[in-house]
């Protein structure tokens, strides 16, 4: 009979490692299983790591973690075919301790984070796939891996196996995704010299910039694109819900190609060498698709529990926070010696009281709104660009007349009533 652990954590992403780390630090015997060659080898993330949640786990992590650049500027583009209305914020204070957030490459970052766990006593096993949870009398008692003699047992199993959590599906906690609940994101890492990046984005060595793009980036489909600066590479990606992709008969790679050759984007990446190409799902169902998160002997954390804020592209922070809460729950349950669903449901309470579920609830209708009313992207972004063009073109027309003209064109293009209706809907969705 193989040995028994206190906790088995499936997955070595931010959720799994936060949980494993915290459990081990508190003296629990933890086995963490990752299917990739090493943590991060299979992970895709646009690349913004938020300081707050990471700092709660490892204070002053920025002094040793493999980070790319602290983000000092966030830009937003409403992009049309040959123009963009842009706004943003640049704050040099974000370039100093304690920083706001960072760009990261997941492969080195996840490896580093997992190593911190191992230093706390986590037994990390790579290149091993967990095939299913082992159950006895309705309680999860361990996992079956794809290795010979591969069954292992534990008091609690934490599923932190990412968005497509097959294990949660097997337990019946998830259904298959509806195509409008997930976004397919494709991204590329493009190598570009430090100097070029600094020049093109107006940065210094230890400063980073993020650009979020709406509108023509997705050929007018629901979704967004992003450009993030690393030390000497750029992450560029674009995502849209699976449903819009199917509707528009698009291939993911087409979208990325379109973005890369867009006249507004091309100069930023010109001359760069494509280093990696990745595709990944992001759960975007938000509040409505959060599954059951605690069961008899089992917890779900991070993307596996669909904890992603699609509008703000937050995910890793929620993964870390939920992983930590899962760990705290397990530590308390261990003291009680009770790993039943009732005992572990403390985790659910923690989640629902935290920023995670509150944020998800706030945006719960956003995706649906935008999906149902494609005019937000297809029509308003170009309109906005035309308006800005008119307003800023110096041609002797008084500004007051220009404003009138712009409002007129807005209402004539879509009708006053519908315009107001659309605005109200959008406001309601994100308020």
């Amino acid at each position: 009979m193989s040995e028994k652990f206190d906790v088995i954590v499936v997955g070595a992403g931010p959720a799994g490692t936060s949980c494993a780390y915290t459990c081990a630090k508190n003296g629990l015997k933890v086995l963490q299983i990752e299917r990739g060659e090493y943590p991060g080898s299979k992970n895709v993330m646009g690349g913004v790591l938020y300081r707050k949640q990471m700092e709660e786990i490892i204070p002053e992590f920025w002094k040793e973690a493999p980070l790319e650049r602290p983000v000092i500027e966030q830009r937003f583009w409403m992009m049309d075919k040959e123009s963009a209305v842009s706004f943003g914020y640049k704050g040099l204070e974000w370039g100093k301790e304690p920083y706001n957030n960072f760009t990261v490459l997941r492969a080195p970052f996840d490896q580093w984070f997992a190593k911190k766990g191992v230093e706390q006593g986590v037994l990390l096993i790579n290149e091993t796939v967990v095939l299913e949870c082992l159950t006895e009398n309705g309680k999860v008692v361990g996992v079956r891996t794809d290795r010979p003699d591969g069954d292992i047992y534990a008091d609690v199993v934490v599923l932190a196996d990412g968005v497509n959590s097959l294990l949660a599906k097997q337990l019946g906690y998830h259904k298959e995704f509806r195509p409008d609940e997930v976004a397919l994101t494709v991204m590329e890492v493009i190598n570009l010299s430090k100097d070029k990046i600094n020049d093109r984005f107006n940065l210094e060595d230890n400063q980073g910039c993020t650009i979020e793009i709406f509108g023509d980036s997705t050929k007018g489909n629901l979704g967004t694109a992003f450009i993030y600066t690393n030390k000497d590479s750029i992450n560029i990606g674009v995502g849209t819900t699976l449903s819009s992709m199917i509707k528009a008969k698009l291939k993911p790679y087409d979208l990325l190609d379109y973005l890369k050759t867009h006249p507004m984007v091309r100069p930023l990446i010109e001359g760069g060498e494509s280093a990696e190409y990745l595709a990944h799902l992001i759960p975007e169902g938000g509040y409505h698709s959060v599954p059951k998160v605690a069961g008899n002997g089992v917890l779900l954390a991070g993307d596996a529990a669909q904890l992603v804020n699609a509008i703000h592209r937050e995910g890793s922070n929620m993964a870390m926070a939920s992983g930590t809460m899962a760990a705290e729950t397990i530590i308390a349950a261990k003291e009680r010696g009770d790993f039943s669903e009732t005992s572990l449901n403390q985790y659910r309470e923690k989640l629902y009281q935290s920023f995670i579920i509150k944020d998800l609830e706030k945006y719960k209708d956003a995706a649906h709104t935008f999906e149902q009313y494609p005019q937000y992207f297809k029509e308003y972004v170009p309109m906005l660009n035309r308006a800005a063009n008119k307003f800023f073109t110096v041609d002797g027309t008084p500004k007051k007349d220009k404003q009138k003209e712009i409002m007129k064109s807005f209402t004539s293009e879509r009708g006053t009533f519908r315009l107001l209706q659309d605005m109200y809907r959008a406001w309601k969705a994100v308020k």
Partner: protein
Amino acid sequence: MHIVVCVKQVPDTKIIKINPKTNTLDRRSAPAILNPYDAHAVQEAVKIKKVLGKGTISVLSMGPPQAVAVIKKSIEIGADRGLLISDRAFAGADTLATSYALSKALERISKDMPVDLVICGKHAIDGDTGQVGPGIARRLDIPPVTNVIEVSEVNESEKRILIKRKITNGYELIQAQIPCLLTVEKEINSIEYSPMPNMIKAARYEPVIWSVNDLEGVDRTQLGLKGSPTIVGKMFTPPKPEGGKRLEGNADEQIQQLMELLNDKKELLQPNSNK
């Protein structure tokens, strides 16, 4: 039967990138792995032990402290124990100095438990030399058999072993006395998927680390950079073909031009060779 497998940590040359300006390795881009041939060497030791029903498999590596990773990997495959020799004095070794250091470690290992068989990889993918194995054999004065594709029989009591050795267009069947040293090709076996208990054992395993002071009778002038007769003079990117040249004319004319261009490479274009 005590089998020692020499294993080396190497950068994964499939992924490796070179900085074109400095002609140095972009280490970030290259994860360090167990030299693939050495993985087969460990696997073969596991196989032999299984056939004999008993024995001990030790792995030996020389490298920086992080090379413990390849020892752990070897434990996953089924080695019983592992040993790393790691010291600044070993740094910068070429194949001659490497085989010297490893042979000194092997001498020390066999003091505790006599070694019957040493197995190395055919070559390490970072240097592609294949010189260390035969070098060790010379220093220990045991016969080497390189490019092994099958260990057909191990006769412990009569102290002999039957081996297939790959040659240019076939193989030789060789009988060698034990102790001897083998270097193995990849086709000798396929790496088995390690069972879970091995994985857990490896995750916990802490290899023994020896410094130069743990070895006996070492002549320090034969170690590391000092003990290495070869040096790297310069690094350069191979001359690139000019690229992008189009042949002109219709299909037949283009073919004629191509045939002329290939004329000075005709020795490469022989039917049914290079297989």
